[in-house]
């Protein structure tokens, strides 16, 4: 039996609303409790002094590209685990669009085996909705759920047609597995490179209007109602989407959404210099959209912030803007970016932290994650929440340098990462 006491710091637990100077007790791999006084019998426990620091649940990312199998030069299980440790993420969910795609048991098993071998953070596989993510035959979601997948996802695209979406959702309901997708109408977004607005008018680049996201969200939520199974839309980005989302939820539909940290930070003006680190999907939107998204976090309309950590090498990025692969890394900058937004008073603290902890845990249906309640998995991070942190990709753990926050001054450094009761260090 091993015991760990974290004392002297401020414990924040968005699930319960706790934000107070207390002591956290960990026994073996679970949370024993939050106390004001260390109880008898715990005097010989290992102690971590967290004076001046925040103690909070380890962060959970619902959307990470782990790079393995298939694109190990960009990232592999070891480097993504190190990046997660450095950024305070104790659980990352791996999108299925690896190579080969995670649509067979063998790929899931490999992911889990590698994760165990690296022994860093918790990596949860997500199964593809259809074989090869091709929008045809359903993938063996049941088998892969048994093998350890925590959700089913359509990868980087929306499901091609409403009928298929209905079938996928109905099947997911039968298996009882959460369904993740993205909202983006293919006909309006194919070949586009940025947001349709004033900036795209000036740059003459092929652009996608907000409506492409809105109509996809509307379709998917409506079918979700028909199939009677909740739907989680990832990476939303516009005010119009949020307006539609509000109405859909008010009408009783069970739709949750997440957003990336860069969509809470940058607007489309930054694309004017054709820096390919700003090429992301969905594209960066207007400042009005950024404002609406920040307000939506406060309102509770957005349940989670997901990094969409998407490593790309110079082969994919040191090219013309339109030819660049979209994506930015995110595991090591997300918490600092969110804390900086809190400092700037653009986001309320507990709502924002909730989006990184209990919010994503609830979407996964995991009561044992994202919170400091008794019996929950002892995934904890200790954070210096005041120290400025300048994002420099050369000093990061990720193998890839495509960081949209490159050179930006953020706030907050993760000092200690604990997974299942054990302190993990970068390997």
């Amino acid at each position: 039996m091993s015991r760990l006491v974290i004392t002297g710091g401020t414990v924040l637990d968005p699930a319960s609303g706790l934000n107070a100077p207390t002591t956290l007790l960990i026994e073996n791999d679970t949370i024993h409790g939050v106390v004001t006084e260390i109880p008898k019998g715990w005097d010989d426990a290992e102690t971590i002094d967290a004076t001046g620091r925040w103690v909070m649940p380890g962060l959970i990312c619902l959307r990470t590209h782990v790079g393995e199998p298939g694109t190990e030069w960009k990232e592999d299980i070891e480097s993504v685990s190190n990046a997660a440790i450095a950024g305070g993420f104790t659980t990352v969910c791996a999108t299925p669009n690896t190579d080969p795609i995670n649509d067979v048991r063998a790929v899931t098993k490999q992911l889990l085996a590698r994760s165990e071998q690296v022994n860093g953070v918790r990596i949860l596989p997500i199964v593809a909705d259809t074989r090869r993510l091709a929008g045809g035959t359903l993938a063996e979601m049941g088998d892969l759920k048994d093998a350890g997948c925590v959700a089913v996802s359509s990868g980087d695209k929306a499901i091609p047609n409403a009928q298929l979406l209905r079938r996928v959702l109905e099947y997911a309901r039968s298996i009882e597995i959460p369904f993740f997708t993205v909202a983006r109408d293919d006909s309006m977004s194919r070949g586009t490179v940025m947001h349709e607005g004033h900036v795209s008018n000036r740059l003459g680049m092929h652009a996608m209007p907000s409506e492409a996201e809105v109509i996809s969200l509307f379709r998917d939520a409506t079918i979700s109602g028909l199939a009677q199974w909740p739907i989680h839309i990832q990476k939303i980005s516009t005010r119009a989407t949020l307006n539609t989302l509000r109405q859909l939820r008010e009408s009783g539909l069970n739709v949750t959404v997440d957003i990336t940290p860069h969509h809470l930070w940058f607007n489309d003006e930054v694309t004017s210099h054709f820096d390919t680190d700003t090429r992301v999907e969905p594209p960066l939107r207007s400042q009005d959209d950024v404002t609406a998204c920040r307000e939506a976090i406060a309102e509770g309309l957005i349940q989670a912030i997901a990094t969409d950590h998407c490593p790309q090498s110079s082969v994919e990025k040191a090219v013309e803007y339109a030819y660049a692969e979209p994506g930015t890394t995110g595991l090591e900058t997300t918490l600092a970016a969110v804390l900086d937004l809190v400092h700037q008073k653009h986001l309320p603290l507990m709502q924002a932290l909730s989006c990184l902890t209990v919010g994503p845990a609830d979407i996964l249906g995991r009561q044992d994650l994202g919170r400091l309640s008794k019996g929950a998995s002892a995934d904890v991070i200790i954070v210096d929440s005041d120290t400025p942190f300048r994002a420099e990709s050369v000093r990061m753990q990720s193998k890839s340098r495509n960081c949209i926050f490159e050179g930006v001054s953020l706030t907050g450094v993760v000092e200690t990462t604990i997974v299942k009761g054990k302190v993990v260090a970068v390997s």
Binding site: N201, G204, P209, E320, Y321
Partner: protein, 311 residues
């Protein structure tokens, strides 16, 4: 007073009025060289200008080559097929290989917006954008403005109408930036499928009716309709385009009496412009070509001088 000092010419967005004015004035001086018996000055002797036309073009490339030769520069020409791009070499690798020949100026035409910007950050040469996707084509707008000024004496306050596929036109975009900086009024005309929402924010008027557009116009700029785009979802057919938006003599009568008819070329007779208008007295289309060489000489001269100062 000094000439404009610029490291690259990537576009006209953000280029101040005094720099555009300076380039246009210099272009007038350069034009005179083309009227001499020996059409050459030694100013760029010993300098190398590399023309890299990833997106092919005979007219613009020839114009740039003549400009470079008239300044006594050595020229080097690469296209997508003669470079290793076809074999999968990246644009940056090709550019770095070009560095070995130490070009002073690189003239780039490419189908991807931002390609010249990418090169300007990665190679030592000065970069001239000869057209990047639908983004900008600054030397075309400069020669258009030079032509207008030659005939009408000024740019400020003129009503300039641009007709055609604005959304996909780098010529239109650069002209909008340049003409607005110089104080002209710009009016865009075309079907909504060829205009993007919110384009008024660039300081222009928009109309879908050609007769509204032409009323009181000092300059009419007809854009080339690309055949590849016809019959798709942008516009039903050539015939309908000419019917709805073609510049005919009758429609031209709505403009001012000394109106200029311009076109970046090549012309699609009977699609965007009636043949008799293309060849008519108001047309300055051929002069645009002559002015193209002069403007490009001015740009090369200014960039060559700036390049030396940096070193």
């Amino acid at each position: 007073m000094e000439l404009p000092s610029m490291r690259h010419l990537l576009g006209l967005e953000g280029v101040p009025e005094k720099d555009i004015d300076g380039l246009l004035n210099l272009a007038v001086r350069m034009k005179e060289i083309g009227e001499r018996p020996v059409k050459k000055v030694p100013s760029l002797r010993g300098k190398t200008v590399c023309h890299f036309f990833v997106e092919p073009s005979t007219r613009t490339r020839t114009s740039f080559e003549v400009a470079a030769k008239r300044l006594s520069a050595d020229t080097l020409s690469l296209s997508a097929s003669t470079s290793a791009l076809k074999k999968g070499e990246t644009l940056l690798d090709t550019a770095h290989n070009l560095q070995a020949m130490a070009p002073d100026i690189l003239v780039l035409r490419h189908s991807a917006a931002g390609a010249p910007h990418l090169l300007s950050r990665n190679i030592k040469a000065a970069v001239v954008n000869a057209g990047d996707g639908s983004h900008e084509h600054p030397t075309q707008a400069l020669l258009d403005m030079m032509t207008i000024r030659e005939h009408l004496g000024r740019l400020k306050g003129l009503n300039v109408v641009i007709v055609g596929d604005i959304a996909h036109s780098r010529v239109a975009r650069s002209n909008i930036f340049g003409l607005r900086t110089m104080g002209a009024n710009v009016r865009l005309c075309g079907p909504a499928t060829m205009l993007t929402p919110g384009i008024e924010a660039m300081g222009v008027d928009v109309t879908h009716r050609i007769d509204h557009a032409l009323e009181g116009a000092d300059v009419v700029m007809m854009l080339r309709i690309q055949k590849e785009r016809m019959g798709n979802d942008l516009f039903p057919s050539d015939r309908e385009y000419f019917q709805q938006y073609g510049l005919t003599r009758k429609r031209l009568g709505l403009a001012k009496s000394n109106v200029l008819v311009m076109h970046p070329g090549p012309i699609n007779r009977g699609v965007e412009i009636a043949p008799d208008v293309a060849d008519g007295a108001e047309s300055v289309i051929l002069e645009q070509v002559t002015n193209g060489v002069a403007v490009r000489m001015a740009v090369l001269y200014v960039l060559a001088s700036r390049n030396e100062e940096i070193e």
